[in-house]
């Protein structure tokens, strides 16, 4: 038997039907995640129902030295759960139990396949919700959120997934199960959970997560503000932050993004706007009312020509619908597009937006801008038509150019989508060889054989066992005169 045949037999012994998939046609269903231009058919797909089954599969992978990739709903946008052609894809969608919602402890215990929004739904009756809310929160899974440390519109005020994950049951690359963190904060020892969140499945697989629940706010106010330009909208954002206000969300869309959203969901954004801001304030009613007055005044002072405040949950829903549908909506005005995810210091927004516009004009490639203005997380949508020869390449050039702009302003190549398979080649632009080398120390501790989601995040990592740092300069023995190099 080949190692894969052995593994398949082991998986069948562990996981009841129909949890082991070998049929080539069905395997192809799993060939990509949300980044559909990378496609790899996995050698085997398993859908465990329990942590024991999942750990058993990982242990078998370790024994056979076969790589594995974990995947939840497959909504990731960086190819973080792109399968390995000779490997196993572990799909957690059948591990979907909300095990506990404990109001008195303000936390919930959930399995990795649980849908993000379902955690909030389960907690709402007690007056609580789960704060991290990626745009895909209706379909993305908590396991994927943990792997990617995904954020969303509300993370400027409420933090990212990493700030809301308290503990996890974890299966290491050897198949051993360990508890990371604890039910209480500040578990003694290294913050291994902090290292695992956002490690994109390269350190192991989380099989259960304890998350923090946040009290539902007393009042929420959502504003839609129209400006004639992104510069003026940006000035409003700066004025709001300078006034000491941290809104729950502050999102910007430019003219092209508005056009796309209108075409798709008829959200009725202000006519002729060069940019809109979606601003959400939440908290105690008195506080929100005072902030609202200030925000409305600051927007007016910086040139807003129209300010609308949602009066009903339906109106609030429509404002957000325009924003949250923006990615998909772009399909209405362009056959193809690339969603980029870069970060800049917020104060560099005017300069970077202008540079993106210049880049667009020079290349003839249209770019629609949708972003989290409060924290500088850009999501430029680079539009192209793949039917036109060379258009895809031109769009990729522009997309890469935007990331370079982010880096030249001291930003990051990803704010919430992850590095995945897509941006591994960009990592050396952001980090020096020694920085990447140091990150590899963590990988070597967790997964020395590199069977857990190989090929993601890092370009060509050093081998575990090669001691760090000693690859350059003189050997210490040589330096101390004990040995010589001939």
């Amino acid at each position: 038997m080949t190692p894969l045949e052995t593994l398949t037999a082991q998986a069948r012994a562990l996981i009841p039907e129909p949890g082991v998939i070998t049929d080539p046609a069905r395997l192809r269903t799993y060939e990509c995640d949300g980044l559909a231009h990378y496609r790899v058919t996995p050698a085997l797909v398993v859908l465990p129902e329990t942590a024991e089954q999942l750990a058993g599969v990982v242990r078998a992978c370790a024994e056979q030295q076969i790589p594995y990739v974990a995947r939840g709903s497959g909504t990731g946008l960086s190819g973080g759960s792109l399968p390995h052609a000779e490997g196993v894809l572990i799909v957690t969608s059948r591990m979907r139990s909300i095990k506990e919602v404990r109001r008195e402890d303000q936390r919930a215990v959930v399995e990795p396949g649980v849908i993000n929004l379902d955690v909030s739904r389960a907690a709402n009756a007690d007056g609580y919700y789960y704060a991290p809310d990626p745009s895909s929160q209706q379909i993305c899974s908590i396991g994927g959120n943990v792997a990617e440390n995904s954020g969303g519109a509300h993370c400027l005020k409420y933090g990212f997934t990493t700030n809301h994950v308290l503990a996890a049951d974890f299966v290491g690359a050897d198949g051993d199960r360990v508890r990371l963190g604890d039910d209480a904060p500040d578990s003694p020892g290294y913050d291994l959970l902090g290292a695992v969140v956002g490690s994109e499945g390269t350190l192991g697989v989380v099989t259960e997560t304890t998350v923090r629940l946040v009290r539902l706010p007393e009042k929420v106010v959502t504003l839609l503000v129209g400006f004639d330009s992104t510069d003026r909208a940006g000035a409003a954002v700066s004025a709001i932050i300078a006034a000491g206000i941290v809104p729950a969300a502050i999102e910007m869309m430019d003219a092209l993004a508005i056009e796309a959203a209108e075409a798709a969901v008829a959200c009725n954004y202000p006519d002729g706007a060069g940019a809109v801001l979606v601003i959400e304030l939440d908290g105690p009613a008195v506080e929100v009312d005072a902030e609202y007055a200030d925000v409305a005044r600051l927007c007016e002072e910086t040139g807003a020509f129209e300010t609308r405040t949602a009066k009903t949950p339906e109106e609030r829903g429509l404002i957000w619908k325009g924003r949250k549908s923006a990615f998909a909506a772009v399909g209405r005005i362009s056959p193809d597009y690339i969603v980029q995810d870069g970060v800049i210091p917020r104060t560099a927004l005017p300069e970077v937006l202008k540079a993106i516009a210049d880049l667009s004009e020079r290349s003839g490639v249209r770019v629609a801008n949708v972003f989290h203005a409060g924290d500088g997380n850009l999501h430029p949508l680079v539009l192209f038509d793949d039917a036109v020869a060379g258009a895809g390449e031109a769009a990729e050039d522009v997309s890469r150019g935007i990331l370079d702009l982010c880096l030249s302003h001291g930003g990051s190549i990803t704010g919430e989508h992850g590095v995945g398979a897509d941006k591994a080649a960009h990592m050396p632009k952001m980090y020096a060889a020694d920085d990447l080398d140091t990150m590899q120390l963590v990988r070597c501790a967790f997964d020395p054989d590199r069977i857990s989601n190989p090929g993601k995040i890092f370009p060509t990592p050093r081998l575990c066992g090669e001691r760090p740092g000693r690859r350059k300069g003189a050997h210490p023995l040589q330096e101390s005169g004990v040995a010589e190099v001939f």
Partner: protein, 404 residues
């Protein structure tokens, strides 16, 4: 002397430079580099000579943890003490590891901003706070340094300089090494510079304090506040043999704070509102150095508060009831078997409520007779991380969990 530098001198006056011993272990020599490059040089030389290195800032928590098994070099980072960047519009600041927290706060206060972290030990530096992951009441509002740190420059045990994270709040590129370093007690690498996210200074603050009849009542009051719409920035309990008090801090706009203060006084019959914090606010229930007592940190699920207060008994506790972290001071002159019994009781109770009891500080002779860290889940994985970062175990050897 300008007003600000006079204030700085006063706030840093209590800093004692570490020249004596680390939990009774005398360092072979003291190195005092002034830059990351110089730290790298010290680390390379120490690596070549096989020497152990113990990083320190103001030395305020040098007595925490186990005594080191070796201390050839005390690496004093107090000269790396500049706030190198404060980008007010981006709500971030970068400072050297030896920068006193008070200096960073003073610098960013000029833009009405703050690092939302309490100084629980006077004179503490950025690096020491990061290594020990100390926190006070405001952790309910903003978390600990773990949640505020966004970038870090470190020097490895082999002298290689590396960076992780960056200077933007939102960044998921690569492993979050900063998280591993926070609370690592100087055993993985030497942090020389760190970047933090800042928060605006609130326009107004009020404290509402109420006496509780007993532990169960304190827990009940705590739950009442947590489930209310008053959005406390801090929720503390201070239990002594004579009284138990629950205190709530609300911060924000004057109107909002006034309204929430009224809501709190309605929720908590018999409470008193004031503009000043109650005595002992944000400080451990022992002096800055635990020469006279055993300082224990306890953690627990929120629902475990009453049991943990009961377990602390006559020694009382003080800390963040709203997050499940508190501190207990046991007089060090008690019989060692009694101290061990208190620690065992606290461990059993906190474990029942998903937490732990760790001895932070104690006189050397007492410490020797205690298991400071207690049981640690995932210790094997922690050892593997240590082995990768510091294969020769030369950084703060023996101070941390499991003898790491």
């Amino acid at each position: 002397m300008s007003e600000s530098s006079a204030g700085r001198a006063a706030s840093e006056a209590s800093v004692s430079r570490p020249t004596q011993s680390i939990s009774g272990v005398r360092p072979g020599r003291i190195e005092r580099p002034t830059s990351t490059a110089e730290v790298a040089e010290v680390m390379r030389a120490a690596a070549a000579a096989g020497e152990s290195v113990i990083p320190t800032g103001a030395g305020t928590k040098l007595g925490w943890g186990n005594p080191p098994t070796s201390a050839d070099v005390l690496l004093d980072l107090s000269a790396i003490d500049e706030v190198t960047e404060h980008a007010a519009g981006d709500l971030i600041a970068t400072a050297g590891a030896g920068t006193p927290l008070s200096r960073l706060q003073e610098e960013v206060a000029s833009a009405e901003q703050r690092l939302a972290l309490d100084t629980t030990v006077a004179g503490s530096t950025i690096g020491g706070t990061l290594a020990a992951n100390t926190s006070g009441p405001r952790r309910l509002f903003a978390g600990t340094l773990r949640d505020l740190l966004i970038g870090v420059t470190l020097v490895r045990a082999d002298g290689v300089v590396a960076k992780a994270g960056g200077k933007v709040v939102k960044n998921v590129a690569g492993y979050d090494l900063g998280k591993l370093l926070v609370g690592s007690m100087g055993t993985l690498a030497v942090v020389t510079e760190a970047t933090f996210r800042l928060h605006p200074v609130p326009q107004s603050s009020r404290w509402v304090t109420v006496g509780a009849r007993d532990a169960a009542h304190a827990a009940e009051l705590t739950q009442t506040v947590l489930h209310s719409q008053t959005v406390p920035a801090a929720l503390e309990v201070d239990a002594t043999p004579d009284a138990i008090e629950v205190s709530v801090l609300v911060e924000g706009r004057p109107d909002g704070v006034a309204g929430r203060t009224t809501a709190l006084t309605d929720l908590l019959p018999g409470s008193v509102a004031g503009e000043d914090p109650p005595a002992g606010w944000g400080r451990y229930p022992w002096d800055d150095t635990a020469e006279m007592c055993v300082g224990i940190k306890v953690t627990f699920r929120l629902s475990g508060l009453a049991d943990v207060v009961e377990a602390a008994g006559e020694h009382g506790l003080r800390g963040s009831a709203g997050v499940g972290v508190a501190y207990v001071a046991v007089p060090a002159d008690r019989d060692i078997t009694e101290i061990q019994a208190v620690l065992a009781r606290l461990r059993e109770t906190t474990a029942r409520h998903g937490g732990s009891a760790v001895v932070l500080d104690a006189p050397c002779e007492v410490k020797e007779q205690l298991d400071l860290w207690g049981p640690v889940p995932a210790i094997d994985l922690m050892r593997r991380v240590k082995d990768e970062f510091d294969p020769d175990h030369r950084l703060s050897p023996g101070r941390f969990v499991g003898g790491i």
